[in-house]
Subunit: 514 residues, 2 copies
């Protein structure tokens, strides 16, 4: 009795210019020939079917025949793209039941643990857009309450198995990942060319900024094209031994992208979800050696050594299970790395380090060298303990810069002009003293409100870092924006609260990479 | 820095014929003058503001100027209605942050208990449509995991306080509620006229069917108008001492309606949420004496005496706290009550009982009398133990029927024709034996697939009940439908699995009302 009602006439597909993000949306007329719209309300779910092809969508109802007539069903942009059938095709539209895997989610809500088969079914339905927003939220929140280690392993395995699975013809495929939160922390763009110049394979995919003023992909985009598909990425890696591309077109762990799109608005952030997200992507990417950077600081994502330890163990446990050698380093996350925050400014810092320019940010150089050193030690041919010296040699000799240029050429020319925002003003110290702290969250927010990362030239250029002595009225940093109203807002906010703590203590020294 | 960006030009409101149900939806152009749509994705949240009036909405983006131009913002039907500003009004549109109360939801997800103030803030935001679907799901699921008794009391109080709060000029205001799940269980339409005929006040609001083939409001609608607003309802109660109206226009506990709209698609159903839903509505309705009917049976909502006990204690606890005298009766929920299932058939049964017609269903009559007896005992002037006799007297004498007629006249004429579906066929016994069980879930589904409650004349008319002897080929029930394809589907499903268990045991006897 739950079979589709095939005796009703099919509707013809029409495309509606509505970008509804992740959610599939279908529109029918209140006088539809194929459905009794009285039984529907807005945001019910319907099933569209052509032969064996099925799409689940959230329903909206219109009274406007110009939008959708009684014989039509309208598909929003993402639904139209995913269903991939031409306008005018005949499609059956029936009420949809929830995906069967939702029973497991309900059990999880009640406190049961899930089997690997149940988790695999959930991830499969997620990745194929069969869950509504609410249903995704239901899964995430039930899992946020508790996730057993067995559940976590099943989740990582299932997430890595849907979507692209890359394999490489060498046993040592290195990768690095930073859990984020630190402005200006663009070490990846220095580490990748060093490691590739040495001869280890490092096929790096990165994200665009989600809540920060720049991601590696946003910054790299100023130097080269980053929206490569899988085949194009493989060509670059085979030619250069490494790449710096955006993960968006490579489709590694698509379920993760979907989960993140709900975690973000709900600000859900549990260790297990972080580990599942990162490890599923690395597993799908074919990485075998992974270095993870945990910045620790009062305004970083990880605020204490205990928290870092727990998270490290979780990464190691999952890595061991899947045959990925995971190494976690805790780094100084008390302040931004480098000087620039925002894509253009960060690209400037990266190229200054790679080019051994005078005035290149020493902390960005030093951190990148230390991370690269860890990765180079994965090379069995390198004598133990010489990774740092080798990294420094590759950077100082210009080999890393040359490799970066090769990667840029292979990926293709950047589509973006690398211009700084035309509005700029300095934010000044309110008193004499020593910089004792820089609030990373605050600096991130200021750079975002100035327009970064959408406005590539917007952001913040730091003149002072922790330990620097400042005089009242001396500039702390410069705010850049490309848009007048964003500039006014960001500057006013920075002047109200700069994010700098200035007093007369001398800050404690912290080792950069543990 | 999170202040609205007032330096951007406002947009003008346009109305879009899209019924998006509970969710507020706003549409802007990808080339919008007031927003940088690049920073948005579909299903981001935006804040619309005119002076101090604010609406939160989920955003969709269009490339079609004919739908929404760069100077416009489109509001879906519910958003337009709720914002209540004319087409063409200038409105500022800015990115919306989540409601502040969502921090408490996040704490709850992490396992914290919430204060009364936090719960009140959540309910206030819910009732004012400030939560997205996902956010509502987040709250429900965090609460489904555990809800303390203090949290439950705070929830009931907060839910009852938003929306209409009815007060009556008498200390004894009786009410009844059935937790549902039993087909044909239309006792309310018999109990209300008996109790009102006696002289106790019983201002009854009922729901339409959500997952069953008929609600009291759907059935009553065949006899009288039910979509009364608060003032009209009060007039009926003052004139008749009781009413039988749909709760939808009375706006008791609007937060409950919103929670239910998410609980339903997720099939969330915890004791605490059931208690919060029912008790908040009764408190808002001004009820002081409440009788709750728990049908217990293998396919009922409550399947065991232990479960019934736990739920009863929870209702009593909340009732005591808010000064509502709650009495719970467990009733026989092993099979449907009466013969008809579906609005027209159920209205027929109700009127047969009220009219003392020969052949009126004895079980529906008996159960209604027993429930009415419990309610009549709330009258201090009635001698203890005489409630049943008094109820029977009011029914047998025709006083209850007369009262029903008075209520019908006061509420106004029914807008619906009371015609049975024109397609009908009998479902036959597959073997000789005795009816040992009737699956309530199955019967509900069959009646729904036949078209009930939307098709008022669709449903099932039972010829056999538990304990009846049947011969192979004898009709068990008749399926009615108004639509050919629904008829075919329902009949095929019924023939595949009738919902009747027939064997050679004699079923155990169960007392009707405990």
């Amino acid at each position: 009795m739950n079979a589709p009602d095939l005796t009703r006439p099919p509707l013809t597909i029409r495309r509606i210019s509505l970008d509804t993000g992740r959610e599939n949306v279908a529109v029918i007329s209140r006088r539809s020939r194929a459905l009794r719209p009285e039984v529907f309300r807005g945001f019910s779910r319907v099933e569209l079917r052509i032969n064996s092809k099925v799409l689940l969508a959230t329903l909206m109802i219109t009274d406007d025949d110009a939008m959708i007539g009684p014989d039509e069903v309208g598909l929003s942009e993402p639904a139209f793209r995913r269903f991939n059938e031409p306008v005018g095709s005949a499609v059956s539209v029936t009420p949809a039941r929830s995906p069967a895997s939702l029973d497991a989610v309900r059990a999880k809500i009640q406190g049961h643990t899930l089997s690997a088969a149940e988790i695999t079914a959930i991830v499969d339905d997620l990745a194929h857009f069969r869950y509504s927003d609410m249903e995704i939220a239901a899964f995430l929140i039930s899992a946020a309450r508790f996730t057993t280690t067995d559940e976590l392993l099943a989740l990582v395995g299932a997430m890595a198995s849907v979507g692209t699975k890359l394999t490489w013809d060498t046993p040592i495929v290195v990768d690095k990942h930073c859990i984020g939160g630190i402005p200006g922390n663009r070490t990846t763009m220095i580490v990748v060319p060093i490691v590739a110049a040495h001869g280890l394979m490092i096929p790096k995919t990165s994200s665009r900024a989600i809540t920060s003023p720049a991601g590696t992909a946003d910054t790299m985009e100023l130097l080269a094209r980053v929206d490569l598909d899988v085949e194009q990425m493989k060509q670059v890696v085979h030619a250069c031994g490494g790449c710096l591309v955006w993960g968006g077109h490579v489709n590694l762990s698509p379920a993760d992208d979907i989960l993140i799109s709900v975690e973000r608005p709900l600000s859900l952030d549990t260790p297990e979800q972080m580990v599942a997200s990162i490890m599923s992507k690395k597993l799908a990417a074919g990485s075998t050696r992974l270095l993870i950077d945990f910045p620790v600081g009062p305004s970083a994502k990880v605020t204490s050594a205990n928290e870092a330890m727990r998270l490290r163990k979780l990464f190691e446990f999952v890595g061991d299970h899947f045959g990925i050698s995971v190494e976690v380093v805790t780094t100084d996350g008390r302040q931004p790395i480098g000087r620039g925050i925002g894509p253009v400014l960060e690209a400037r810092d990266v190229m200054a380090v790679l080019g051994n320019k005078p005035g290149a940010p020493a902390d960005l150089r030093e951190k990148s060298l230390r991370l690269a050193a860890h990765l180079l030690e994965y090379d069995p041919k390198l004598r133990g303990g010489t990774g740092y010296a080798r990294a420094k040699e590759l950077l100082d000799s210009g080999a890393a810069l040359k490799k970066m240029q090769q990667i840029i050429d292979a990926q293709g020319p950047s589509p973006c002009p690398a211009e700084l925002g035309s509005y700029a003003a300095d934010v000044l110290a309110a008193a004499d003293g020593v910089v004792n702290g820089i609030d990373c969250l605050r600096i991130n927010r200021l750079a975002r409100s100035a327009g970064a990362p959408v406005a590539k030239g917007a952001g913040i250029d730091l003149f002072k870092k922790i330990g620097d002595r400042v005089e009242k009225g001396e500039p702390l940093y410069r705010v850049y924006a490309s848009d007048r109203s964003e500039f006014d807002l960001a500057l006013a906010a920075a002047q109200a609260e700069s994010g700098f703590a200035i007093n007369h203590h001398t800050p404690a020294d912290v080792d950069l990479v543990s």
